[in-house]
Amino acid sequence: MSNWSALQNRSFLESNARARAVGLVDEGSFTEFVGPFDRRTSPHLEVLGEAVEFDDGIVTGIGKIGKTPVFMISQEGRFIGGAVGEVGGAKMVGALKAARAFAEKIAKDFPKAKEEEKPIVVISFETGGVRLHEANAGLLAHAEVMDQFQRCRGIVPVVSVIGSKVGCFGGMGFVAAAADVVVMSEFGRLGLTGPEVIEQEMGKEEFDSADRGLVFRTTGGRHKYIMGDCNFLVDDTIAAFRKQLAELGKTPRAKFAEFRRIGSPELVEKQLKRVALAAEMQPKDARDVWAKAGNADPAALGNAPLDDFRKAVKRLTV
């Protein structure tokens, strides 16, 4: 069995950023950009005497799923929590910009290209946002990524993939939400403020960050699926994520706007209805919202095996 085949049934959660990048696309199709052999380590970490990584914690490259070119950005949570600095940020920005140019080239040079031959961008998030050792550069990079997201609209779809240990928080939390599609596993978490900070702000009685059940109910894949903040909730294997991406690769590009949760005045109006619901409900727990969505026994739903959850769950329609 080749490395690639072995990767397919691996837990996405347990895999590292490179294994995810390689395993999500077809066997042998992945070409890495600014990879370890380019030795683009962070000069800022070096100055501070912090351990460096040859890829600065972000794997970028291109691969294929079937006929679909896939620009891949995969963050490594085990390296400084996946935090984004100057080099890693530049890799994200560069990959998004290159994907856009590539898509424009295909539109221009291959007017008859089939939908599935047009590229997509996949970003596997595993980060708490800005890397504090180079906080200012990291922050500025976040803004650049967001700018690239908007520039990619209608040219190349961007898919957020979240199934990692660290989850996706801080500035990258709104970046991920701004993508066209969000695919999660139940182990993925998406949000803005990490649980410890919420506890600090609101007190342990209101939010106990050690209560991981609560933490996952608030930002985990199951909750985000109910809220519609994640479009697809898949099993925790690389193959399952890959299958979802393959389907997206074949999806007409014009359809991607329908997956979005933000990015137009109409979507803002829709979200504001939710905000009004939040104000009205003042939920003590995400389970209140699950119940509001029509799920009679939220606790049992949270405990149910994922397949049963997907079959039984009612998603919020407000």
Binding site: L13, E186, F187, A210, D211, R212, G213, G221, N303, P305
Partner: protein
């Protein structure tokens, strides 16, 4: 005419105290939670020996808090005799002078304060014991006058249900009540009918429903997601070089990640080695969630537990062929009996440690924390009173080259006591050291002896990533130290190993490397774990295991 001697002073004293407390005790021995402080002031006298129940898991925390609120003019200089002092309130008693002297077994999270208080004279230390040793002294010279215990439920008459987490309650109550002492119980709930009677009402003097359920910690839950590749390598070595080598049927597992890895690798690597049905059939351990896959695969015949484990209630109840289950259908744990089995009946103890010295003495002590012993030394030793024979015990004894120097040609077995440890721990601290930190601790905390968890003469095997040192095959101290050096890797001790000496030890099978044992290091990856996450444990259990919230990641 001789003067009539009085033979019931203890009972008279107790009766006087209970008379003073009478107004607080209602029907069914019930006391209102607001009256508990006054009750304690009525029944406890300065200098009394007092026990607050609490072990690794359930804690009489409300009663401990109440004891801290008594009038120090009335109650002071108590002699605390109890298994553990893991709560801040246990130590606060010494801070305020309510308590003076301490005899205990385990310090837990308060280990740092215990050391400090001893040094500052706030604690007059009796001794640090093992559980069985301390329980023994409850019936000898350390019998509590007043015991503050905890249970899940009481009925209207005062019968107690201690259920899943029975733990130390029977031994404390038996010692106290049958010396005419006073037993006060905190319960989570007073109900009409309890599932079964664990402690009869006649042995209880007062019952209070605590405002909050007692504190209980899931101490024996190890998240499989945190098991590392080096731990898996050690587990492979253990399974191949010890479990398979000796066909170890009965054992106790420590609570570390190494033994969790072993448990999770029974259905994979263990099965591959053909150990099912031969090894791990009888075990003395708490309901470790990481045992679920092996239990489900039919490895285990019997498990008896010291205590329970949060979240395992339903699973354990659903496996009555394996666990000790009451007529009501729930587990009954019992620390005294499990420790007895762990001391006399099992073939092997295996667990992790923090430091090992050149003689094989093994210690988890650090320089400024009096953590105590708990139960490990009872199991991590060769029980001299053991008389029954098993394959593993006999084989280990037969390997001992020095046995004949002590008892001639008489055959005798030996408990396998296995210590698994990576040569360097956190922050690259060496695990093999010239002198254990236990010596520094003895000095810092004015202890009579360095607190050694397992003495070198009891350790039979040391496993590191470099291989296994079969200390039971060493005839003298020089060979033992050489074998230890040979597996001590790149620590200063390990660097003293001489290649030719190590070669000789390997030839004699006193030291065996992974290669010698046929253990493929490249397979040491998490792929060998039958469950890699908490959720997979839940799946293995058919949804019966309900992990505490802090262990959930979905």
């Amino acid at each position: 005419m001789t003067k009539q001697r009085k033979w019931d002073n203890l009972a008279t004293d107790t009766a006087e105290r209970m008379a003073a407390a009478d107004r607080f005790i209602g029907k069914g021995k019930e006391v209102q939670s607001g009256d508990v402080v006054a009750l304690l002031e009525a029944v406890i006298r300065p200098g009394d020996r007092v026990n607050i129940e609490g072990n690794n898991q359930k804690q009489a925390d409300f009663l401990a808090d109440c004891l801290n609120q008594v009038d120090k003019g009335k109650v002071h200089d108590l002699h605390m005799v109890q298994s553990c002092v893991p709560l801040a309130s246990h130590l606060d008693l010494f801070e305020s002078g309510i308590a003076k002297k301490l005899d205990f077994a385990f310090g837990g999270p308060q280990a740092g304060r215990v050391a400090k208080f001893i040094r500052e004279g706030k604690i007059e230390l009796g001794a640090i014991h093992t559980y069985l040793e301390l329980f023994g002294r409850y019936f000898l010279d350390l019998t509590p006058k007043v015991s503050l215990i905890c249970a899940y439920e009481a009925d209207r008459e005062g019968n107690l249900y201690t259920g899943f987490n029975t733990e130390d309650t029977p031994v404390i109550v038996e010692a106290t009540k049958f010396r005419q002492g006073i037993v006060i119980a905190q319960v989570n709930k007073i109900v009409d009918k309890i599932p079964r009677i664990d402690i009869p009402a006649g042995w209880i003097d007062a019952v209070v429903q605590s405002p909050k359920p007692f504190f209980i910690e899931p101490l024996f839950t190890r998240d499989p997601a945190l098991i590392t590749d080096p731990q898996i390598l050690l587990a492979m070595l253990a399974l191949k070089g010890v479990y398979a080598e000796y066909n170890v049927a009965s054992m106790n597992h420590g609570i570390g990640f190494l033994t969790s890895a072993i448990e999770l690798m029974l259905p994979t690597y263990g099965a591959e080695l053909g150990l099912k049905g031969k090894c791990c059939t009888h075990m003395i351990l708490n309901p470790h969630p990481t045992m679920i896959p092996a239990i489900e695969e039919g490895w285990v015949d019997t498990i008896h537990c010291f205590g329970g484990e949060l979240g395992m209630e339903k699973y354990v109840a659903a496996r009555p062929d394996v666990f000790f289950i009451g007529p009501d259908g729930t587990l009954r744990s019992n620390r005294a009996f499990a420790q007895t089995a762990g001391h006399y009946a099992v073939d092997m103890f295996i667990g992790g440690t923090l430091q090992i010295d050149p003689y094989g003495n093994s210690s988890t002590a650090t320089a400024n924390r009096v953590a105590g012993f708990g139960g490990a030394p009872n199991m991590g030793c060769d029980p001299k009173g053991r008389r029954h024979s098993t394959e593993a015990w006999l084989k280990c004894g037969q390997e001992l080259p020095c046995m004949k120097d002590q008892i001639g040609a008489m055959p005798r077995g030996k408990r396998l006591v296995v210590q698994g440890i990576e040569t360097f721990g956190e922050g690259r601290a060496p695990a093999f050291v010239e002198e254990l930190d236990a010596w520094k601790l003895a000095k810092n905390a004015n202890l009579e002896l360095p607190p050694v968890m397992i003495y070198g003469d009891d350790v039979t095997h040391i496993i590191t990533e470099e291989g296994i040192a079969y200390l039971c095959r060493c005839g003298d101290m020089e060979t033992r130290s050489a074998a230890i050096r040979a597996v001590a890797g790149y620590t200063d001790i390990g660097l003293k190993a001489k290649p030719e000496e190590t070669r000789r030890l390997r030839d004699a099978k006193i030291v065996r490397t992974p290669e010698d044992l046929g253990v493929d290091r490249n397979r040491a990856s998490r792929d060998l774990l039958s469950a890699k996450s908490m959720q997979e444990l839940v799946t293995w259990s058919g949804g019966l295991y309900e992990p505490p919230a802090r262990f959930r990641n979905w």
